[in-house]
Symmetry: C2
Subunit: 250 residues, 2 copies
């Protein structure tokens, strides 16, 4: 049970106060909230998601909800079987093997584009985030590290100034992020990741587009290796446990 799972319900929105974002329609709001629920892991992969449950949870009727389900299915977060309802898409090793190279290509492109457009100030901001991230690394604070890490990649993506690219990136990132609960970085991996980030920052500061692209691509490749090993190790020990949700750590 989460905090205030109900939308405004029947009470018609009076545009005063309560709405932070200018989200005008119910289905758009539902898409956003359901996506969060899935990406944040509250709705575990493989879970069946009956319309009725969600309708009650959000206090809406089935029509806008179903519209939202269709959108999320087209994003790959849900699987929709005709007459059989929606299930949260599972994330198999095969899926990750597909997703990471694409992420790598998109991030590499973002890096290239960013090199051509980024301002000194933006670089300074990223540098600040970077060293804060390094601090969390030295303190072994994984959740905070993840948050900063994600933030840095997000900044580079923004600096690329290509909304289409950013949209695709975020879509993939949302799918992949669900895997972070199951990826246990070894000490060595973590150190290497930080080193790579150091190189990313350096290439970005020098506006060395080809190098940044190469590093980012490799960075994603390594990330995949980490996740894959971790996943395979878990498969060996606890085969069915991925159905249950590990603790919320990030």
């Amino acid at each position: 049970m989460r905090d205030d799972p109900h939308l405004d319900g029947h009470e018609r929105l009076t545009a005063s106060g309560r709405e932070r974002i200018a989200r005008t329609t119910l289905h758009d709001e539902l898409v956003a909230r359901l996506r969060d629920l899935i990406v944040e892991g509250e709705l575990a992969p493989g879970t069946r998601v009956p319309e009725r449950i969600l309708c009650e949870r959000f206090g809406v009727s089935r029509t806008p909800l179903r519209e939202a389900l269709k959108v999320l299915a087209s994003e790959g977060l849900l699987e929709l079987l005709p007459n059989r309802g929606a299930t949260v898409a599972r994330l198999t090793v095969a899926d990750l093997e597909e997703l990471f190279p694409v992420m790598g290509a998109l991030e590499a492109l973002a890096g290239e584009l960013a090199c051509a457009r980024i301002s000194d100030e933006e670089i300074a901001e990223i540098r600040a985030l970077h060293y804060q991230m390094v601090l969390h690394y030295t303190r072994r604070e994984l959740p905070a590290y993840f948050r900063l890490n994600q933030s840095i990649h997000e900044r580079i993506m923004t600096a690329a100034g290509n909304p289409t690219l950013a949209r695709m990136y975020r879509s993939l990132a949302g799918r992949i992020r669900r895997a972070r609960y199951i990826a246990n970085m070894s000490r060595a991996r973590w150190e290497r990741a930080v080193e790579e980030h150091e190189a990313i920052l350096d290439a970005l500061a020098r506006r060395d587009a080809p190098r940044l692209a190469r590093i980012l691509k490799q960075h994603l490749q390594n990330k995949y290796e980490t996740v894959k090993e971790s996943l395979q190790a878990q498969d060996g020990t606890a085969s069915q446990d991925d159905r249950r949700r590990p603790s919320h750590s990030a």
Copy 2:
């Protein structure tokens, strides 16, 4: 005036990967058919698309239609304004400037992956398509050339064996394809494009992944230049005309 009301029996196999079941639901079928209508240019960019019209056209009620509209909007083919209905998304020069680099990155990745997996037989098939395309080039048969061209890129994408990548690629390709009506290739550009395709085939046959990636990326970049020049030339002569009707000349 419902054209072809038997939507259900269609069984389109556009499925990349996991969709084994034939399309049985109305909204899925509607998504596919509406997408075709938009991509093929039958629904011109900027056109308002009232639900009522589409309902009559397809002989369905508003519920499944609206579900389809939401999905197409999330793909970027439609723009949905709250309480104001759907319009076919316009394709501005700025949009193309965003789309082509992403396409380039995705195709480059596809080329790389394909080099690692493609069979001799698949290469032979692509070679056959290539030379048929060249034939159409020598005969100056643009529509047929386009078709074969598209087919070749599609084959490379398939050979990459990455359904996620393919899905993103097709989504972008659908959006970009609508621009082909307005892109007039000069003789020199066309020749160069064919040369590039020659190089693509060569790199693929040698499984030279880095080179293929480089060529594909450049190929897309050149394509963008072509479209851009053509578009700017048209902007010069008929500044506002693209708002009303793009010429149907495929």
